[in-house]
């Protein structure tokens, strides 16, 4: 009774599932999840469960991947506090820090993070923002750049980011790990 094309269609489902599990980038995994949902809806419809197929197509491939895309976009972000240039209000990124920011962007892309620059007017509010967990990393130019070979000063309050930066860009910047003042959640 079971036709051989049903076997071939059902065999597509574990194929799509294996494709989903080997993905590394979260956005690519979401697209493959949509493919898995389409194949699953096909399998359910062919096996005769039309209501299950409709639910899988509506919830599985439309609602869940859209909500997950929004969640991944807002959580996989590294906020970097920088000093604002006093002269130009329109350009928040200071020119002196641009090679380090390019390097940080490359590191963030390697770990599928999104780099978001948050400008602050002076050094005091920058440190305050780091303490109040508004930003994850702060980055300022060294006050006397001739004395040392590392022209930037980077502070972070997250142990994992500190470990990553220590291996990736110790030639370009001095690293400071800021212990959170209240022990507890990081």
């Amino acid at each position: 009774m079971i036709d051989n094309y049903i076997t071939a269609i059902v065999a597509l489902l574990p194929l799509a599932a294996i494709m989903l599990t080997v993905q590394v980038n979260p956005y690519n995994a979401l697209v493959i999840r949509g493919i898995l949902g389409a194949v699953a809806a096909l399998v359910y419809a062919v096996l005769g469960a039309a209501d299950v197929a409709l639910t899988e197509a509506m919830v599985g491939t439309m609602l869940s991947i859209t909500l997950y895309a929004v969640a991944v976009r807002s959580s996989l972000v590294m906020r970097l506090g920088v000093l604002q240039d006093g002269q130009s209000e329109a350009k928040p990124i200071p020119d002196t820090a641009s090679p380090l920011i390019e390097k940080l962007r490359a590191v963030a892309r390697k770990y599928h993070l999104r780099l978001e620059l948050v400008p602050y007017p002076d050094r005091q509010s920058l440190n305050q923002a780091l303490l109040e967990k508004e930003v994850h990393v702060t980055c300022v130019a060294q006050s006397s750049p001739l004395e040392t070979s590392q022209p930037y000063q980077t502070m972070t309050r997250i142990r994992r980011l500190h470990d990553i930066f220590q291996t990736e860009l110790s030639a370009l910047t001095t690293l400071t790990y800021l212990t959170p003042p209240t022990s507890g959640e990081q």
């Binding site: 493919i35 389409a38 809806a41 197509a57 892309r109 978001e116």
Partner: protein, 85 residues
């Protein structure tokens, strides 16, 4: 008619391979659109083959509404890429 369905399954394997191999997110979205349309057309073919109107209505709804989810996902991914720039 079975041969037609086997041919459609083989055609479905082409965008699945493309989605697996290509690292570009937009190529993956193209493969997703291709697979979503192909699977709903396959549902319609099966419904005609079995003369089953319930599966046919399901296939029509999936074919028409599935593209809306694709558009929503494409907009979110486009805004992510704009934020990186």
């Amino acid at each position: 008619m079975n041969l037609l369905l086997i041919a459609m399954i083989l055609a479905l394997l082409i965008p699945m391979y493309e989605a697996w191999q290509d690292e570009d997110i937009w190529q993956k979205m193209l493969a997703f659109a291709s697979i979503a349309t192909k699977t709903s057309v396959m549902i319609l073919v099966v419904s005609v083959l079995r003369d089953d109107w319930m599966i046919g209505v399901t296939g029509v709804i999936i074919l028409s509404v599935g593209n809306a989810g694709l558009m929503l996902l494409a907009h979110v991914i486009k805004r992510v890429n704009d934020g990186v720039m």
